[in-house]
């Protein structure tokens, strides 16, 4: 079910992004750490953004006899 290459869930990436932004804002870190954090933040942003951009919602109907799904037209 994982849709991103890094195996990070959207939830995980979002919370990373959130905490990185917070840490950056706090500003109690060195420039090197800031740059490092920013790079990480951009990475997580891309993960989230990718997931949202490549949304391809599927609605499928289960068939008990065949134990399979078919596209549902609702």
């Amino acid at each position: 079910m994982t849709r991103n290459t890094d195996n990070i869930s959207f939830e995980g990436a979002l919370s990373q992004l959130e905490s990185i932004t917070e840490k950056l804002k706090e500003g109690k870190i060195t420039l090197e750490e800031s740059l490092e954090l920013y790079d990480q933040g951009i990475k997580y942003y891309k993960v989230c953004s990718n997931i949202l951009e490549h949304a391809n919602q599927k609605i499928r109907l289960y068939n008990k006899e065949l134990n399979s799904f078919k596209e549902a037209d609702y």
Binding site: M1, R3, S9, F10, E11, L14, L17, E18, I20, T21, L24, K25, G27, L31, S34, L35, Y38, G41, I42, Y45, C48, S49, I51, L52, A55, N56, Q57, K58, I59, R60, L61, Y62, K64, N67, F69, A72, Y74
Partner: protein, 444 residues
Amino acid sequence: MKICEGKSSIIIHYSLLIINSKRSGVYMKMKALNVTQVNNYIKRILQSDPVLTNISVKGEVSNIKYHESGHVYFSLKDHKSKMSCFISYENSKNMKYILENGMEITISGYIFVYEKNGSFSLNVIDMVVEGQGNLHIAFEKLKEKLEKEGLFDVSKKKKLPLFPKTIAVITSATGAAIKDILMTIKRKNNYVDVLIFPCLVQGDYASSEISKTMEIINNLYPNTDIIIMGRGGGSMEELWPFNEEAVARSIDASKIPVISAVGHETDFSISDFVADVRAATPTAAAEIAVPDSYELRRKIDKFKRDSDITMNQVIEERQHRLQKHNFRVMTTLLDQKIQNYQLYCEQREKEIRQGIIEKMNNHKNEIEKYLSVLDHLNPENILKRGYAAVVTEDDEFVKSIDDVGTGESIRIALTDGSLYSKVTGKELRGSGVKIVSKRKEDRK
């Protein structure tokens, strides 16, 4: 045959046999049967009767006992009569209702004879409970039981994932619920996949289908993030499958978080209590289950923007600090310092110089003061004012009339030269007596 009332035992009057025997006129000649044989015979008769093998009986539940073994014993009665009833453990597992004394029910099953006691009971295969009052009793009974077992414990509630990728929906494929759920999900979210598991949501087979589907999802599709189970509004009878123990157990056993959404806001079902989250309606369930992916887009974009701004600020602040401390600035600062010192030195020098000048001026003034005194004392100046100095022929100053004698030559020194003259007379100041013609002798 007459079946007498009383403690689930029956007393058989052998009327049937007697009638038959009387007809044949061999009543007294009948060979006596033993009890076992009779009970055996009765069993065969009763259990092969087409009516009694598939019978439906209506009455009020009394003397209900839930045995440890899982079997259920009770009596069904009306105002005149009562009969023993039995639900085996196997059947009781699938019963849709938990019975309680006083409930009016309709049970269907078959008559079973216990040869040992010569008693019979109605073995229950299925039952129908109708009427709000009766259903409420069953509802409360099951609720109480499951609550006691801890199925409603808050500590057991699983958290819904913030960003589900797959949601399974257990409901009727044609009902209003699935339409509401899909409409809400599509409006809020363009990412989550929806797997619809069509199920009966009312009637006798609904609960077993729902609980089996719950198992299928858990076993075959364990990556499902959330299960929504429910249906639209209906009568209490129609919603009943969601008040059945089988459904409650399957929700409890689910490893995937379950949202229960049964009927309208005012409808509470047992499944609502067991589920991890209760939604008032199917639409509400969809609202709860999926995040707004469009809102998330805005949110992460804001994070990025904030980070960009912060990063720029961090860099600018560093640049600013760096600029404040570069070589040029340091040189300027040094120059400034030197200039300041120079200025200070010049100031001091000026002060010293002024001090000296002042001192010299003071001396000069003093000297000039003396000069003026000297000047004042210069006889030449006296002469300039019109006074004259009188000297003798020997150039001695004449300070008194006694210094020269009458007739003696004197020189009167003026500022621009001298006059030579002779003393012709003398007069003592203030006497008014002029001494004339005296010679040298009047000189003292």
